[in-house]
Symmetry: C2
Amino acid sequence: MTTSTVFALETMDVPGGTETILRGGRHLFPLLPRALAGVRRIGVVGWGPQGRAQARNLRDSLAGTDITVAVGLRPGSASAADARAHGFTEEDGTLGDWLAVTADSDLVVLLIADAALAAHHRKIFAALKPGATIGLSHGFLLGHLRETGGDFPPGHGVVAVCPKGMGDSVRRLYEQGAEINGAGINSSYAVHADPDGNATDRALAWSVALGSPYTFRTTLESEYLSDIVGERAVLLGAVHGIVESLYTRYRLAGDDGTTAYARSCENITGPIARTISRAGLRAVRESLDASGRDVFDRAYTATYGPAREIVAEIYDEVADGTELRSVILAERRLGTRPMSRIGGSPMWSLSDRAHARRDERGLPGGPVDPFTAGVFVATMTAQVDEFAERGHPWSEIVNESVIEAVDSLLPYMRARDVAYMVDNCSRTARLGARRWGPRFQTAYEQIAYPAAEHPADRALLAAFDTNPVHEALASAAKLRPAVDISVG
Amino acid sequence: MTTSTVFALETMDVPGGTETILRGGRHLFPLLPRALAGVRRIGVVGWGPQGRAQARNLRDSLAGTDITVAVGLRPGSASAADARAHGFTEEDGTLGDWLAVTADSDLVVLLIADAALAAHHRKIFAALKPGATIGLSHGFLLGHLRETGGDFPPGHGVVAVCPKGMGDSVRRLYEQGAEINGAGINSSYAVHADPDGNATDRALAWSVALGSPYTFRTTLESEYLSDIVGERAVLLGAVHGIVESLYTRYRLAGDDGTTAYARSCENITGPIARTISRAGLRAVRESLDASGRDVFDRAYTATYGPAREIVAEIYDEVADGTELRSVILAERRLGTRPMSRIGGSPMWSLSDRAHARRDERGLPGGPVDPFTAGVFVATMTAQVDEFAERGHPWSEIVNESVIEAVDSLLPYMRARDVAYMVDNCSRTARLGARRWGPRFQTAYEQIAYPAAEHPADRALLAAFDTNPVHEALASAAKLRPAVDISVG
């Protein structure tokens, strides 16, 4: 059944049609037991960033019901102490071995790392009790099964609820949601298999319980593609490439290191992200004076083509399975040769000095840098357009290309640095960023920035101005409250 | 039969053992008819750089024998006029449709582009006459067949003779060979299938007739791997990445553009290439004074690790078939979106000015730049070591990692520019260079060059000093005369 008998799905207008969404909120928590009929225990397997956020959100949302939330860990996991510190204990039966917790749960939320899923999914599947639903927050396993000729076990529902933000923000904004109803990170949901007819309700209940302000529908394949491509492009890989290339450009133009850092990294994670989050993409250009708009226009039109070319290449390779094969090969190779860290390059040594220049509240002040903005907005728009051409739902496009960046990732990069992110996020994302970040960097240095000397391409600018993304972003903005995205 | 009854194969000492080689030369031409027993016609399919060089060398070498050399072209090929201008004509039966020429030849040398081979090999195979031998100069088709589940047609010998240099140099040095016996481009040979027992002699005869100073033995798979990896690494991809990263480094350190260009691109294609060609790798360091050697050492040891990491990644992906899949995807995509050109980046606009600084004979003068040299030699050594670890024959290692670069490719880059090469060589090489050049560039900028501030790693330097490659290069040097590698 693809509709819900419990929640009131809504139809949202999007460019070219409508989409089905579920508006979330704490007022829906009383409906959770009915939507989770047949679920007595939810097992959250894994205590990484998503695991520890989702387990806590679920437990809080289901407090007072008969549904328990337990955490399952691998034997010898280093996370046991932290899980206990957060109230998941062996004594009260809410912490245990991952296979035991799996065998005992009616909804099994698999939040272990991709490599672990790849290595151990068969034994996890074998441990499932009859009627249990498999829950994923990432489409990786689908890609892996396809590439290796495997499949999900028959007779079990397979659903995905994928928060469009980092684990920490899933928990942090949920806590803000105690005061601002509806604060949270949006999620997509997908029903991949539904033998018993309850998969939609279980997926939506899971998303509501996570605190998602709104939940939009997608497929596991679409989620996988947009997610894996996105992290290689505007969510992480391209951001790294952009800031390195801009830093070098500004240094070569005569800026000292701290100024170059401010104009590139600080400007993207600060004023540009904040402007887009509050007011959309066109507002970035509109915030500039006439000469700034000219610089923006030339940077935008010079960057759009090269950006689109690379996003298309990434997409082809992810869709084809080629990118996944390279991830698998890298995992093997990294067994013997650890991944080098990119945080040692010259620009990152300036981050402390640049941070010191921020105002005392750490708020992103200062004007938008027009060249930086043109480059960044062009990259974001290129990804949007590529996803639109490939047929992704508009909610997914805007969440994966804009909202997740400006509301979750870029604020983290502001607090910790882009290099920190590239060196510390999920393994698959790290590998992807290392592979594709350099492509953006060099294409921008060698093709885009030289072309920015030329007059702007008016057709590309008109296409930007009338791009359906602005309408889609505005619709999405109505569905989520303004929240404080600054990271302490 | 894996030995020759016609040519005197020799055993050459290489690190760790011996290899079988054939020393070439024009004095062997009288043996060609015997080695080519049963071959009345050789069909060279394709008139690209390799096709037009090999067809002419073969014809000249077989002049006065009963063996004719014909060129086969695709219908509507734009090359027909040029082939006729070089004496291959329909009238005397030495120019024709590719399938007709194939059907009429006893040795069919397939020198069309990889994409064309991929698309049309089945009909070419179907046209072969009984007992005909298939000749390749590139292992690509093997990789393609494996990836697509195809195979060579049974009942036909399959051999490879792969000149270790660009087509133009295969012809140019052959012509020099009229005066300097033995001038030419070395080749590898492989016998992949030998149903009739004549494959070895036919392969060696082909190589001798091309003018190869020496021919070393390999396998089609080994050739494929070393070739595809090499063009993504030290033969082209890494060279581009190196010169862009060094150019930026020198500019940021205060050099004007022309000086930065000279210290990076000119120095590699000029004094460094010439020194290695004449005197080997250690001679580059030995040509420096004490303070230069310190700079070299620190650059070398900072670069070696990152270089090795990338070469290993390239190798894994080529061996796994992943890289080939990306080439196929790119071909599809490029049908609608042509490949952008990298020759527009700032450094290439300086090439004319830099060329003007060369001495009037265009000879590479001036001293070796120590930092540039350390980076370049480290990259070359990293590729050598990776190939050695993967078990390639030493002749193949030194030809694919050193000799082909310094005797063929770098002189062409000197005459025309690295950017020209990246924008104009074979499609597969162009795609590979665009994919991997940026990885070298960014890894060097972000990881290697910052590390060059630190003292050199004495263990890495000792490993360089005692590397088996020096002995292998010296053996190879004995087998080829010094030739004029400058390109007019």
